[in-house]
């Protein structure tokens, strides 16, 4: 079991957004979390990555058996948790190389490894760039600065490749992507999949799931997971929209 | 003693000679502030170039002169002033005049149909004693400007306005400041404007001179803008070239209030406007705008200071100048973000166009920031209309002269469009266009033949 969420309540300021989430992710699984806008998908991703603007009021999260809520964001990262941001931030003046080098070496230090030499690091960058198929020019620029929406998302997948996470959470990674970019992102994710890694793919639309096949699909609605099923659920949602789920919930 | 030694004695003398009359015509509370203010003025003096607020001002040109001072103007001067007609067509206002700083109507204090009290400052200081004790002299109390204290020491009259809670004033209140005298005179007047909560009010102040003597005016206006209130002050200055005018406007803004100050300088020998916005209640917003279109030897400055005392306030400064012939334009803008005034957003911009080699501009937009969660920026430019835009316009068939006019008009209009009173806005646009085209003789509306 890589992730176990028990009865998670969380919110921003006075507003409660997550109202009792329960979720279990096993090693090797791909989970999709779907849901209408405002259902709490990104808040859940933020809680998992440790964003301080979100306050957890109740519940617990275990990551590889450890209490995730006690860990700092960087500790979570070094423990192998990766968040692909919905809106990757721009960091002017900081080159991708400097940024990733710092990140990779922090991860290595955590695992008791020597830092990579400059040439080994650049070699790694090159390999991963090819693997995820991003333009090598992007890596010479400042982090996300002046990147298009698609480039920013591809850059997230590239970073994921560099850091080889155990659990990757991709928050609306498909939003703002054209179909080619979507394919590149999805291929990247699929190539990076290892037997010992798990993923949570958060999305509003089914189309990403044409390329990334989930083992389990959850529907998040009003801060709760209201339905859990196999990948066929995604197709059903695509066909019928979210209204029937809302009706079902309201009836109960 | 700091400041301009020697010159200051003239004004200390004026005080000593007139203090008897001054005290006789004022309320005890106002009189109680005179002596301390006199001492402060004595200590600080007339600002010289070492004073950052007046760094580029040559005050001596107007202050080093032997003026008369009269508490009450002569009858004929009042009659002459009352004949003055505002040149703005269709401008519907609640109008009144001040003659040499004196409120000339028999009815010293009146209540308008919408409940607003307005009238003589002198009269109101007795009738609205508690309001005066609460506000008078509380904001006009800067440590950096001796002239404010000179005003507190000597001013006896001016305009008082009180807008009770919840009042929405349909018409702007218009004050026409007229200076009219056969002598060279030094005027000081004092305005107190108090807005309660949930009030909306616009005030237009027009400055005119009617007789060809040398004048110097030192005016202080204190404004209190209560919670959730909206206040606009628009100052249109059109005095002759022998006239010096120093204004000090202090606007104290409470929670969620909005206040805009707009200084449109069309004419004047020396014009120096000091505008202060004190943001003391959270959620307050200040806008301070100015336009100066100047020529001859005119010397014009705007000092703007916005103090963010509390969190979550916003301020904007936009000042633009077109400087022609041998004129000098100055912008000195300050944003001060006090410790703990987090979530401040403050912006400041000053743009200038110089039209001749003899024109000068000095600009100093500065930021002093003692809180970290802020978004502040400023920008200043001095130059000519942008070449790329000029080329674009011309490539569409507009000739160079017209293209330049168009850009300069657009340049000035950016300030004028902020004025909420339509009739005034249109009139000012018109004046600016005529002025830029050279169609308006500079003193078209002026009875004084300066040159």
């Amino acid at each position: 079991m890589i992730l176990k969420i028990n009865n998670l309540h969380a919110g921003i300021g006075e507003k409660t957004i997550l109202k009792g989430i329960n979720l279990e992710v096993r090693t090797g699984e791909v989970h999709a979390i779907m849901g209408p806008n405002g259902s709490g998908k990104s808040t859940l991703a933020s809680v998992l990555a440790g964003r301080e603007t979100v306050t957890v009021t109740e519940g617990e999260i275990f990551y590889n058996g450890k209490n995730l809520l006690e860990m700092s964001p960087e500790e979570r990262s070094k423990e192998g948790l990766f968040l692909g941001f919905q809106y990757p931030i721009e960091i002017p003046g900081v080159s991708m190389v400097a940024f990733m080098k710092a990140a990779v070496n922090e991860h290595r230090k955590y695992r008791g490894l020597e830092p990579l030499s400059a040439s080994d690091f650049l070699k790694l960058m090159r390999e991963k760039k090819e693997l995820v198929g991003i333009d090598s020019k992007l890596a010479n620029r400042s982090v996300n600065e002046g990147f298009s929406g698609g480039e920013k998302k591809k850059n997230e997948i590239f970073q994921m490749a560099m850091l080889e996470p155990k659990l990757s959470i991709l928050d609306e990674t498909d939003s703002g992507l054209d179909i080619d970019a979507l394919r590149i992102v999805a291929n990247g994710v699929n190539k990076l999949k290892r037997p010992d890694s798990s993923s949570i793919v958060i999305t509003h639309y089914q189309r990403l799931l044409d390329y990334i096949v989930p083992d389990i699909v959850h529907v998040l609605y009003d801060g709760r997971i209201v339905k859990t099923s196999g990948k066929e659920l995604a197709l059903e949602l695509e066909e019928k929209g979210y209204n029937w789920i809302q009706k079902e919930v309201n009836q109960n | 003693m700091n400041g301009q030694v020697g010159i200051v004695d003239r004004y200390l003398d004026l005080f000593d000679k007139n203090i008897g009359k001054i005290m006789d015509s004022s309320s005890p509370y106002i009189n109680s502030l005179r002596e301390p203010a006199y001492q402060t003025f004595r200590r600080m003096g007339i600002p010289d170039k070492k004073n950052e607020n007046y760094k580029f001002a040559d005050l001596a040109l107007f202050f080093d002169f032997d003026y008369k001072t009269r508490l009450v103007p002569g009858k004929s001067d009042i009659e002459e002033a009352k004949n003055f007609q505002c040149g703005v067509a269709d401008l519907e206002t609640q109008g009144m005049i001040l003659v040499n700083g004196y409120y000339p109507y028999a009815d010293k204090l009146k209540q308008l149909p919408d409940g607003v009290w307005t009238g003589s400052f002198r009269e109101a200081s007795s009738q609205f004693g508690s309001l005066f004790e609460e506000h008078y002299g509380k904001y006009a109390n800067t440590e950096s400007d001796g002239l404010v204290h000179l005003n507190t020491a000597m001013a006896t009259d001016g305009i008082f306005t009180y807008v009770p809670d919840g009042t929405v004033c349909e018409k702007p209140i218009q004050i026409v400041n007229i200076v009219q005298s056969d002598e060279d005179i030094f005027n000081q007047h004092r305005n107190l404007i108090v807005l309660g909560k949930n009030v909306q009010m616009t005030m237009i102040i027009c400055d005119h001179t009617l007789s060809p003597r040398k004048f110097l005016t030192n005016a202080v206006t204190e404004v209190v803008v209560g919670e959730n209130s909206i206040f606009n002050i628009i100052r249109v200055q059109n005095e002759h070239n022998y006239s010096g005018k120093i204004t000090h406007t202090f606007i104290n803004q409470e929670k969620n209030s909005f206040a805009s100050s707009n200084n449109i300088i069309l004419h004047g020998g020396l014009v120096w406007n000091n505008t202060y916005h004190y943001l003391v209640g959270e959620g307050a917003e200040a806008k301070s705008n100015g336009l100066y279109l100047i020529d001859k030897f005119q010397h014009v400055g705007n000092y703007v200071s916005i103090d963010h005392f509390v969190p979550n306030c916003t301020s904007n400064q936009l000042f633009k100048g077109v400087i022609d012939e041998m004129a000098t334009g100055v912008f000195n803008g300050r944003i001060y973000v006090h410790p703990d005034a987090q979530k401040t957003a403050a912006f400041q911009r000053n743009n200038n166009i110089l039209l001749t080699d003899d024109a000068k501009v000095f600009t100093k937009p500065h930021l002093e920031i003692y809180a970290d969660d802020v978004k502040c920026s400023h920008g200043a430019t001095v130059g000519q209309p942008d070449n790329d835009i000029m080329f674009y316009l011309r490539s569409r068939g507009i000739d160079q002269r017209e293209a330049k006019l168009m850009l300069m008009f657009g340049f000035a209009h950016e300030v004028i469009q902020e004025i909420g009173v339509k009739a005034l806005r249109e009139r000012l646009d018109d004046l600016v266009m005529q002025r830029l085209r050279g169609e308006l003789s500079r003193c078209a509306n002026c009875v004084v033949k300066c040159y």
Binding site: A98, A103 | Q342, T363, K375, S377, A380, G383
Partner: protein
């Protein structure tokens, strides 16, 4: 033994300032205090000609009539100018006549500072003039430079060897009446570097001066004079450190640069004087007048500075753009932390036609520090077609510090164009979080972000300095965000 002591000293003080050690070396010192006798003493120690003594005395007499300037946004404690030693020269034990060998103790000091004084130890061609307290200890590569006609030596030596050049240019850019500290320096300056690049010569290596304050209770008053004759080029670097001490020490220097027709001078500074401890005790008071004169057509002077040290910094490296088409540049990163105060910026005085200047200033404030940019751009009446662009950004780390911007723009020519922009913001919590999420701790994240923010400036530095400057930025800000 000494190394251990240093380590201990470092640990018990701040642990952050790497250069805070003290070299125990005998020095020859003038008595405390400032008067005409002291000035005569300094002058005679240096065996100076009469005209130079006159220059010093005139400066001193002028200084006595002046008051400490109060216009900067700084809280400067009263300085007792009579409580300072104005001349302190380390005694070099083994210095035999005519030999260039220097005292091993001094050599060790500069080795420790990363400034090897043996030429063969240098990786890249950088010539160094090493100044400790009041005297120049050693100038390297003098012979190599002499081959192409470049004069690079200590100021004292220049006075003896090249009196005409010194006489011609000394005080020509910064007259002693310029300001309070310029007058003080002109009266008591002890040593510094002199450099002359002859006509048409591109200086084959970087020149540098390393300033070290060592002795207690002394002030350092060095003077640098750099002349680039027609069609020449030089890149010049300057570094500074001082021991950790509880009391403040005064540093008041003058740098004068003259660039003749078509000459280019690049002047880079990494200023890392001891900044005082976390509570604001001790540190250097750094009052420096630096000015370059673009005298000839098409000349160019470029200032780059990384300011991380000093308790108080008062410094405005400036350019007087006299030659038509001349160019002035100012690139600055100023970091203040703890209780440091900095009031720094530039003056660009445009006199000639089509002169151009660029100002890029990045201020970073942390702790309880105050960081001000103060700049003047003046377009004088004859500066037709002149251009200036200024960009001044401030970054705030924490809510106890301040960031201030005071630009002055004075324009007297209708064809001149001046543009000034400035922004102030706090360090992005989102950026830090993003880095945290990638496993980078907050201190390192700040280091990364600040280095990115300052990169534009750091890139202007010669490579060796750029690396040093990056490290400095990171160290200066450690623990600044809790």
């Amino acid at each position: 033994m000494e190394d251990n002591q240093d380590k201990l000293l470092n640990e018990v003080t701040s642990g952050d300032y790497k250069y805070g050690f003290y070299t125990d070396i005998d020095s020859e010192q003038a008595p405390k205090g400032l008067n005409e006798d002291i000035i005569r003493l300094i002058s005679s120690k240096k065996e100076e000609p009469e005209w130079l003594l006159e220059f010093r005395l005139n400066a001193f007499r002028y200084w006595r009539t002046q008051k400490m300037p109060g216009w900067a946004n700084l809280k400067i404690p009263d300085i007792n100018f009579q409580d300072i030693i104005y001349y302190s020269a380390p005694k070099q034990k083994s210095k035999s006549n005519g030999s260039d060998d220097i005292d091993p103790e001094l050599k060790k000091t500069f080795d420790k500072l990363g400034i090897p004084l043996e030429e063969q130890k240098h990786l890249s061609g950088v010539a160094v003039d090493a100044v400790m307290d009041s005297v120049s200890v050693k100038t390297t590569f003098k012979e190599t430079l002499a081959e192409v006609g470049v004069i690079f030596c200590s100021f004292s030596e220049a006075v003896k060897e090249y009196p005409d050049l010194v006489k011609r240019y000394l005080g020509s850019v910064v007259p002693y009446r310029d300001n309070y500290f310029a007058a003080l320096n002109s009266a008591v300056f002890s040593d510094g570097s002199f450099c002359y690049i002859p006509k048409g010569v591109r200086c084959p290596m970087e020149l540098s001066t390393y300033f070290r304050i060592n002795a207690a209770n002394t002030g350092q008053f060095e003077r640098t004079l750099l002349v680039a004759d027609e069609e020449s080029y030089v890149s010049y670097l300057e570094g500074c450190t001082a021991p950790i001490r509880d009391e403040n020490q005064l540093h008041a220097a003058i740098v004068e640069i003259v660039a003749e027709k078509n000459a280019e001078v690049k002047y880079s500074t990494v200023q890392n004087w001891y900044p005082g401890d976390k509570n604001g005790n001790g540190g250097i008071f750094n009052f420096v007048t630096k000015r370059g004169m673009c005298k000839g057509e098409n000349s160019k002077i470029s200032w780059t500075q990384v300011e991380t040290g000093s308790a108080i910094t008062w410094k405005y490296p400036s350019c007087v753009l006299k030659g038509d088409n001349s160019v002035g540049e100012f690139f600055s990163v100023a970091v203040t932390n703890n209780y440091q105060q900095a009031d720094t910026g530039t003056k660009m005085i445009h006199l000639g036609k089509n002169t151009k200047s660029t100002v890029v200033s990045k201020g970073i404030s942390a702790g309880h520090s105050q960081n001000s940019y103060r700049g003047l751009v003046r377009m004088s009446r004859n500066a037709a077609g002149a251009r200036n662009f200024s960009q001044c950004d401030s970054l705030l780390l924490g809510d106890k510090c301040g960031a201030h911007t005071f630009p002055y723009i004075e324009t007297d020519n209708k064809t001149a164009i001046v543009e000034h922009e400035a922004t102030t913001s706090k360090i992005g919590e989102d950026q830090i979080f993003y880095c945290n999420q990638r496993g980078i701790n907050t201190d390192d994240a700040i280091g990364l972000i600040v280095n990115g923010y300052a990169r534009e400036i750091i890139n202007k530095l010669p490579m060796e300095f750029a690396v040093e400057a990056q490290k400095l930025l990171q160290i200066s800000l450690e623990g600044s965000v809790g």
